[in-house]
């Protein structure tokens, strides 16, 4: 375990070394990486205004990069290709641990700065307890690294006494699709964040009134924004200020709206301790890094 950790550190250091040298270079664009929560096209559409705004405010070219898959995205994280990165809580916690990414802010979505891992079923499914999911098909959003959709939901299953193998585990490309698929009865339950159900791209597609939250975790800080520790503190702070003050002016509000966000709030690493606990409960002390 240690050996594997060590190799990871070395590889990471080797990969980021050239970037360190050029990150502060005036002409090098700042790379903003967005995890594939949505498809690439939508992601670009949502965050292009922010990118343009950052570029304007930083007086540097800011480029947006996203990937089609988490593997590819995680590869870029590992290589520290992103100067600013927006990802889920699990990836932040691991990247913090492995690559020292520093959280500077977190989302406020649907006027909520927190989110809880949830298990959602159809009201007409006849399932009333989490333990009733034994033998059922549970669709989780994204992958086993999805904080709320998988880890939070799995944590709820474990707490209900269901172990791996007691149910059929399936994955959709992202959390909204788990809810939509469950609505279309392609799974008996969906593992997802509690607020996902209320996103426009969910509630505009299905009648969420036919769904119910079977169980959910404590409310936890929303998706984080982190920066490469290669960035200078000044730049980090400047970026943090730009992001967390968007809601204070019209242009910023438009940018937030475009990104389907209520706000971007200041966040610190301690805001993610609850997440670490749950991850540890599910994956153990190594946070599941060995399975990445």
């Amino acid at each position: 375990m240690r050996r594997r950790q060590f190799i990871g550190y070395i590889a990471s250091a080797m990969a980021t070394a050239p970037r360190i040298l050029s990150a502060e270079a005036k002409n090098r664009p700042i790379v903003l990486g967005i995890f594939p929560r949505r498809n690439i096209k939508i992601t670009y559409k949502l965050f292009t205004p922010l990118v343009k705004y950052l570029s304007f405010r930083l007086d540097r070219k800011v480029v947006l990069e996203t990937t089609k898959s988490f593997q590819e995205f995680w590869g870029n994280v590992q290589q520290k290709n992103y100067d600013i990165v927006h990802f889920n809580q699990y990836h932040y916690i691991v990247s913090r641990k492995l690559y020292n990414y520093q959280v500077i802010a977190a989302n406020k979505e649907l006027d909520s700065s927190t989110i809880a891992g949830s298990i959602i079923v159809r009201k007409d499914s006849g399932i009333s307890t989490v333990s009733g999911l034994k033998g059922k098909t549970i669709l989780f959003g994204g992958s086993r690294r999805a904080m709320q959709s998988y880890i939070g939901a799995t944590w709820l299953l474990r707490n209900a006494g269901l172990q791996a193998g007691d149910y059929i585990e399936k994955f959709s490309i992202n959390p909204p699709n788990t809810i939509i698929s469950t609505y279309f009865k392609r799974a008996d339950a969906a593992g997802s964040g509690d607020s996902i159900m209320y996103l426009d791209n969910v509630r505009n597609r299905i009648d969420i009134n036919e769904l119910k939250i079977l169980a959910q975790t404590k409310q936890m800080t929303h998706l984080p924004w982190a920066v490469n520790d290669d960035l200078s503190m000044a730049l980090r702070e400047k970026i943090q200020v730009i992001l967390t003050t968007l809601n204070s002016h019209a242009e910023g509000k438009a940018i937030l709206k475009s990104a389907h966000l209520s706000d971007i709030l200041l966040a610190t690493d301690s805001d993610f301790d609850e997440h670490r606990k749950i991850i540890t409960d599910v994956y153990g002390a190594d946070l599941g890094i060995s399975t990445l």
């Binding site: 498809n39 939508i42 994955f171 939509i180 698929s181 597609r205």
Partner: protein
Amino acid sequence: MKNIKKNSLAGQFFILIAVIMVFAMVINAFVQYSNEARVINKSLNERVKSISELLASVSVESLLTFDYVTLDSYAEFTSKQKDVVFAVVVNKNGIPLTHYLNSENPYINVILDKYSNITIKNIITLLHDNPSILFHKTPVMFEGDFLAYALVGLDLEPYNKESIKTLWQTIFITVFTGIFVGGAIYLLFKDKIFRPIEVLTAGVKNMTRFEFDDKISIKGGGELVVLAELFDGMRLQLKSAIEKRDAVMQELSVLNDSLEERVHERTQELQMLNTKIAHEAMHDPLTGLPNRILIAEQIQQSIYHVKREKDSLAVMMIDLNNFKDVNDTLGHPEGDKLLVNVAERLADVIRESDMVGRLGGDEFAVVAPHVNESDAVKVANKILDNLQPSFALADYTLKVGASIGIAMYPEHALDQTSLIRLADVAMYEAKASKSGVCVFHPELDKYTALRLTLMDSLHNALETKQLHLHYQPQVVIGDNKVISVEGLIRWKHPELGWVFPDQFIPMAENSGLINLVSEYVLECAFKQWRRWQDEGYDIQVAINLSARNLVNPELPKFVAELSERYSMKKGGVKAEITESALMNNPDQVIEIMNDPGMQSLTFSIDDFGTGYSSLSYLKKLPVVEVKIDKSFVVNMETDDDDANIVKAVIDLVHNLGYQVIAEGVERKEIFELLTLLGCDKVQGYFLSNPVPADDVLEKIQKIELELS
């Protein structure tokens, strides 16, 4: 072009060409349209199929990865393709797995405006019913497993509009081209065909109006010029023929007028002739009175009228007394004059509403409607009174009585035939009873029935020898010997018993049977004479011949045959002929009496003193004897006038050189008086009644014994 008339050949030609062109090109346009529509339809089917299949193929991954958001983006992308109304992915139950619908699409927009809160599934169901949307459903499969359906609707409307627009453009171009080509063809043919035909048509129209002066000609060459020349030749021939015809027609018109005038004259003549014939058919030519037919018709009409008015009607039959004697003695011309005079008096005496007619001979009839029996008798007596004055003929003045029988409707009969018959019966009764007028009563009809029965039986009587001769002896005064007998006919009817001559001889006279009866009597006389001759008795047999016998040209031949058959000697049979029969047609009677066939007979004038005999004829007659009428004899012993007449007749006859015989001698005093007056023979019941042949000889012996 604008001079084209719709009904002209040119017009029809133009219209025909244009119509054919337009029709052909419109058909072509429709065929093209159909082909294009088929190709477009096929292409659209392919397109919607390919879009549907494309959506299905890209949906596989999203469905496998539960990526409905991406799936929805595919649906959105597909929906935004040109003419795509919607593109959805549905599960096996038809539940849409994508939610995107283009709300700006007109079809969807209409539905959304109409229905609030409508589901995508229901929107698609409604769109499915729209014929303008082409659907295609492609199953989304992955390694043989069914995942969903990709359902795509393609809007056909733009293609349909484009097709219709293209079709109308083609039709417009087609119609324009058809009219243009038709017009061009017309212009090409106008001078070559239509103009010459117009000239020919005008020429023929002139001819149909009998106008032949305008020459028919066409410039140029070709068949139509030849045709025009032929038409012109026909024009000239027709002109000549019409002129000739008009001349003939003029002559015919004159002849026709003459013919019509003659026909009119003949028609008038025929009408007059028909009127005359109709009058003659209904009227007696001698008196001008209605004849039997018209009288019968009048009775019938009168019956109709009086029946309606519940009234009565009298039919009178009038018969002149002794008119036959007038004809016999004075001749038919005088008889006819008398009838004309009688007719005039009858016409004078009747009412305007009555009708008098002549039925034949001396028989007249009067039809008097609306009179009862009493009035009818008064009318009849008035008629008799009017006939009472003497009639002045050419050489004579005559008194003529009449007998009138009356039958009443409805008391006696209900139809005209019966009324005439019953009036006739009553008339005979009036004549028999000499009462002048007799109204019919049922008893009279019995006698009529008897007469009819006798008439019917007379033929049979002749054939079955029911007729017999009884003989009455004739005595020669002075010698008191019987040398002759008069054969008097008797009829022993098997049912009626003895029937006397006055009951059936008049009927025989009227019916023509008298010749047969007379021949029968002659044969009996000849036969009886021969029998007595053979027995040694020379007894002359006298018989009576009627006036009809004496105008029968067959009589001499019959007598000659009898004479030869019975070896008759002259005078063996004596024929008694009444004075009136002799005087009726004396020349013809004398001719027959002198016929050689009659030589075996001697002749006697019967009933002398009643027939207005002409002395000149008496002298010429080949008679040997004259018989004084018994009306002078029967009372002569008490009536001096009769005695004087008898004496005068005896003297006259003797002076003419004939013998005299008196009949009707019924008493001894008469017999003695006749003896004193110098009569030659007598005959009567004082001496003997007529007896059968077998009793004659015995009766003769008895008479001769009594007189001796």
